[in-house]
């Protein structure tokens, strides 16, 4: 399995994603995969604030809806070009995220989660009731597809697929940069213990707010891509069900790991699609599978794998240290 690690593994994933349409050969599967990529982008963001920074945000889906509605309202009602609306979606979620973050991140632990769940519901109500702005329960129809850039056109499902894939790769690359940097270490220090992080000179509010804003920007862009792909928006996008789907993706794949949210999103989407023939009864299969997964792989798939790998490496270290153990013991008593 060692050859799967590092750059080779990532390259294989990229090749698989690039080649997928060749094997799918049907527009339905391609658009399902495209939507999975969009959800994966949102899940990446959720993983930053929840997995890496330890703040369990339950308003993530609502931020995705804000991004989507920004694109919907601007393009349909104000005839703004798609890509400008797309950038505006990122900006709107960032600004909104900043103020909601400032308010909600003063709370710790479960209180933060409960607060954000309420924020999520308020955002859902606003979208549903503010008819003059959001078209209310009717939703927004006829959102244009992303306009072409030069020779690149995004009208077909295949082109959409590659467009969204490009954004997913970009999002993943930026996320990898962040979590492996000193900034990522600050986030993880807050997750481990906020008291200790503060005692180490980390500005808690600033660090948490930055993580929160970054994470909701991922949700905002995911929502904007969703609007351009599905072309129709209803208030349901802001319902807590979307957030809990994202939470499930992150948990199944492995919370606090880079690859986890991706793997979780693909796996759950694939499972949901495979069980489609059972209609509503699919939950009877889905529920137990999920419970079994949480019991036997509490760190998620990637998390469990990484933990095993760390333990193996640790055992090797311990074995290597053993012959010199006597010397270091002596050195310690001299210290």
């Amino acid at each position: 399995m060692n050859w799967l690690q590092g750059k080779t593994g990532w390259a294989l994933l990229a090749v698989a994603a690039l080649a997928f349409p060749l094997f799918a050969q049907n527009n339905y599967l391609i658009s399902v995969a495209t939507q999975a990529f969009i959800m994966a982008i949102a899940a990446l963001g959720l993983n930053l604030i929840t997995g890496y920074t330890g703040q369990f945000n339950l308003a993530h889906g609502a931020f995705m809806a804000v991004g989507a509605y920004t694109v919907g309202i601007l393009t349909v009602d104000h005839h703004v070009p798609f890509w400008i609306a797309f950038l505006a979606a990122g900006l709107t979620t960032a600004v909104l995220g900043f103020f909601i973050g400032l308010l909600s991140l003063r709370l710790r632990g479960h209180y933060f989660s409960i607060f954000t769940l309420c924020v999520s519901y308020i955002m859902f109500l606003l979208i549903e009731k503010w008819e003059s702005l959001t078209h209310g329960p009717v939703g927004i129809m006829g959102i244009p597809a992303p306009t072409g850039i030069g020779a690149l056109q995004f009208g077909t499902p295949l082109a959409q697929y590659y467009l969204v894939l490009a954004f997913l790769v970009l999002g993943l690359w930026i996320m990898a940069r962040i979590v492996r940097s000193l900034l990522g270490r600050s986030f993880m220090a807050v997750r481990n213990s906020d008291d200790l992080a503060e005692a180490l000179g980390i500005d808690l509010m600033r660090t948490k707010t930055l993580s929160f804003v970054l994470s909701v920007v991922y949700a905002g862009f995911a929502g904007a891509l969703y609007a351009g792909q599905v072309r129709f928006l209803g208030p349901d996008l802001a319902s807590e069900a979307v957030t809990f789907d994202l939470v499930m993706f992150v948990l199944v794949g492995g919370i606090g790991t880079l690859l986890g949210p991706l793997l979780g999103t693909f796996l759950v989407t694939w499972l949901t699609q495979s069980l489609q023939f059972l209609q509503d009864y699919r939950m009877v299969v889905f529920g137990p599978v999920l419970i079994a997964l949480i019991i036997f792989l509490p760190d998620g798939i990637v998390g469990t794998w990484l933990k095993r790998r760390a333990q193996r490496a640790d055992a090797a270290q311990a074995a290597k240290a053993a012959p010199t153990g006597a010397v270091t013991q002596e050195a310690k008593s001299n210290a």
């Binding site: 220090a189 481990n192 008291d195 200790l196 005692a199 180490l200 311990a318 010199t324 270091t328």
Partner: protein
């Protein structure tokens, strides 16, 4: 180095720290002792900025630091350890220590996205600091072990290393030898001496009297939040009030 003036902290009706004045000198080991619930940890929390005092002044190197946020206090050069240190169990010991020097670095989001020279330099610096600190506490041989698997005594040393990585002048150690055996306690006491020999100032809370009496240059005794005595180990050992409130006859120099 650290001057405390009439420090008081009230939680609703309870006075946890009651009008305490004292001073800790540079290059010394000062100890705070007292029965459980005497306000020792609250005292540390006030100095480190975790709680804001209800009244009184705290001066560090002549500068008023009363009521500053913990991260500001840390940047000024006061590091602290906790009774339990939460490490990231799935990462290596060295990985856990790298964030310790983060407070002396400047890199922000832009540096991360552009992978600037500054970020690379600072990451190297943080790694070096972590290694240095680990060497200092005598744990370089477990740098690559995962934090979940190290012993309680090693955990205590890692907590020291984490505090050291912040480049502090003053270290506040909360029960540095809590939960370790007598032999290991001697090793930790030697390590605290070594800190002082290398120019650090140490203030610690501890219940292990043998260790305190041998290690401390100065002892402050708290009882019910108030200071009941202060002095050298010799003076404290003879103080009838301290014997009565805390020491009992075992450690008294009768």
């Amino acid at each position: 180095m650290l001057e405390i003036e009439s420090l008081t902290k009230q939680f609703f009706g309870l006075t946890a720290v009651d009008d305490v004045s004292t001073r800790f000198e540079r290059g010394q080991v000062s100890a705070i002792i007292g029965p459980n619930g005497a306000g020792k940890t609250t005292f540390f929390n006030l100095v480190a900025g975790t709680h804001k005092p209800s009244a009184g002044r705290i001066r560090f190197n002549g500068r008023d630091v009363t009521g500053l946020r913990p991260d500001h206090v840390a940047k000024l050069g006061i590091a602290r350890t906790f009774q339990t240190t939460h490490l990231f169990d799935n990462a290596t010991v060295l990985d856990n220590l790298i964030v310790g020097h983060r407070l002396r670095t400047q890199s922000g989001l832009w540096d991360v996205l552009a992978n600037t020279r500054r970020l690379q330099d600072e990451e190297r610096l943080c790694r070096e600091k972590a290694r240095e600190a680990l060497d200092f506490v005598g744990l370089s041989h477990i740098a690559k072990r995962i934090a979940a698997d190290i012993t309680q005594e090693e955990r205590k040393r890692v907590a020291f290393a984490l505090a050291l990585a912040t480049d502090p002048e003053l270290l506040l150690l909360d029960e540095p030898a809590g939960g370790v055996n007598p032999e290991e306690t001697v090793g930790l006491a030697a390590l605290i001496r070594k800190l002082v020999d290398h120019g650090k100032t140490v203030c610690l809370i501890e219940h292990k009297m043998d260790m305190i009496m041998r290690l401390a240059d100065k002892i402050v005794v708290l009882n019910n939040g108030a200071k009941i005595a202060e002095g050298t180990p010799e003076q404290i050992r003879r103080d009838p009030q301290v014997i009565d409130a805390y020491l009992g006859v075992d450690h008294a120099a009768l």
